[in-house]
């Protein structure tokens, strides 16, 4: 009787003891594991990149010399990382431009295109890119092309003066230039000609170098582009970006000069975020001045063919951006364009929405 009563109690005690010993062992192992994990620099080794769909949508109303245009648009960007070094990225764009035609009808005209579709192989000093990509000339196209980033929606006048897209191969990268106070960045490319209306590119080659000083947050550089078809024109440019540490100001500028028929010019832009005024901290004031100089000795037929690039132009723009949320921005701007015998006003008002969505489980509640 005694033994019958004793054994269940003994088993219970043994189980309890075993449980605590197991807990002791697990605690020790867990602690060691924690120390091992803690000895690693950071935990992002476990944060493997996943495919995402991002991009922006926008709706803007533009009034150019009295002509109204409503322009809804979307620019999706697909990012597919593969392994540790590869990235496939593709960005398209679609927009409808609605305006009142000569008959008084409100009609839309759709336009679409492929900004880039490229494969990147990334190493410490060199990123090898193949596919269709933005030509590395200046920095506006690569940095401020997306409408949710650019401070003013109207593009600089000099942009059409050089080839903005390329299809071929590119080497690019950035690394400290012997000191942590200066970063050097570069890009060289070669492009083949393509006459497809969506993928149109010139046969061209060129590159860009730049120096970035993280301390004063100053970047400057130069670009070169040689077209290897038709008039075989070349373009040379310099760029400059400064964002002082003490004030929420950004100053950016580009200058371009081309041979052949496309002329040249410059723009300088400053953006001041009113973050020092609590009630106005979401506002940003923007100003831009620019000039375009037409190429000399052009024949009238060439001037007509060049369109906007066939006229000396001065333009001043002033804009306001309101950062409603981190992904929604309201924008308005006014510009005055000075062309001989044809001055005009340029109004723009609208909003942009930047979206980001995962295409794979994130492994996080965020």
């Amino acid at each position: 009787m005694c033994r019958v009563v004793f054994w269940p109690g003994k088993v219970a005690h043994a189980c309890l003891l075993g449980f605590f010993f197991l807990l002791t062992i697990l605690s020790s192992v867990g602690m060691q594991g924690q120390q091992e994990d803690g000895s690693k620099p950071v935990a992002f080794d476990a944060t493997k990149p996943i495919p995402i769909l991002t991009g922006s949508t926008a709706y803007f109303t533009r009034v150019t010399a009295g002509q109204f245009q409503d322009v809804p648009s979307i620019s999706p960007l697909l990012l597919v990382p593969i392994g540790d070094k590869w990235l496939i990225e593709g960005k398209g764009n679609y927009s409808d431009t609605y305006t009142t035609n000569a008959q008084g009808d409100y009609v839309g005209k759709a336009s679409y295109g492929l900004s880039y579709l490229q494969a990147d192989y990334i190493t410490k000093y060199v990123t090898v890119t193949a596919g269709r990509f933005i030509a590395p000339f200046g920095i506006y196209g690569e940095r401020w092309g997306p409408n949710w980033i650019r401070a003013l929606q109207i593009s600089p006048l000099i942009n059409p003066a050089f080839s903005g897209s390329a299809a071929g191969g590119m080497f690019r990268g950035g690394f400290p230039a012997g000191t942590l106070k200066v970063n050097f960045n570069y890009a060289v490319y070669f492009s083949v000609a393509n006459t497809n209306h969506i993928l149109a590119t010139d046969r061209s080659t060129g590159g860009r170098i730049g120096f970035f000083l993280p301390g004063p947050r100053l970047e400057f550089g130069a670009s070169f582009q040689q077209v290897l078809q038709s008039d075989r024109a070349h373009a040379a440019g310099i760029h400059f970006v400064w964002q002082p540490n003490r004030v929420p100001l950004s100053v950016r500028s580009e200058y371009v000069r081309t041979s052949g028929t496309k002329g040249g010019g410059y723009w300088i832009e400053s953006a001041y975020r009113l973050s020092q005024v609590p009630s106005l901290r979401r506002l940003e004031l923007v100003g831009r001045g620019q000039q375009f100089f037409v190429a000399e000795n052009l024949k009238p037929a060439v001037v007509k063919k060049l369109g906007a690039l066939g006229k000396d132009t001065k333009q001043g723009d002033f804009g306001v951006n309101y950062y409603w949320r981190s992904d929604v921005r309201l924008s308005a701007s006014y510009g005055r364009q000075f062309i001989q015998n044809k001055n005009s006003n340029l109004w723009t008002v609208g909003m942009t929405y930047r979206f980001v969505m995962p295409l794979w489980p994130t492994g996080s509640r965020l």
Binding site: F21, T24, G38, S39, P49, E142, V356, S364
Partner: protein, 99 residues
């Protein structure tokens, strides 16, 4: 039986003591020199990452909302190519944005 119960009681107390000791060691490891060093390194990296973020990313756009670390990893890889960010800056920005 009383002896057996006493032995089991003693063993149970020993196991509890060991468990508590292990737990205490685990907690104290957070305050150990290694853990303190790691925390200091982590803080240094986070601060450096924030500075690199302001230098590289905030020059063109406002700070994004909080994304999952796996999404951040993809975005930072994309921006490394787009803005020719150095490998070191990329690593620190990724660390800063993943926290």
């Amino acid at each position: 039986m009383r002896i057996n119960s006493a032995v089991f009681g003693a063993l149970l107390a020993l196991a509890l003591l060991l468990t508590m000791a292990a737990a205490a060691k685990t907690n104290s490891s957070k305050d150990s020199p290694n853990a303190a060093t790691h925390n200091a390194q982590d803080d240094t990296m986070r601060l450096a990452g924030e500075i690199r973020f302001r230098s590289n990313c905030a020059r063109c756009h406002a700070a994004p909302p909080k994304f999952s670390p796996r999404m951040v990893s993809t975005i930072v890889r994309h921006m490394r190519v787009r803005a020719t960010i150095t490998e070191e800056d990329t690593r620190l920005i990724l660390h800063y944005m993943s926290e």
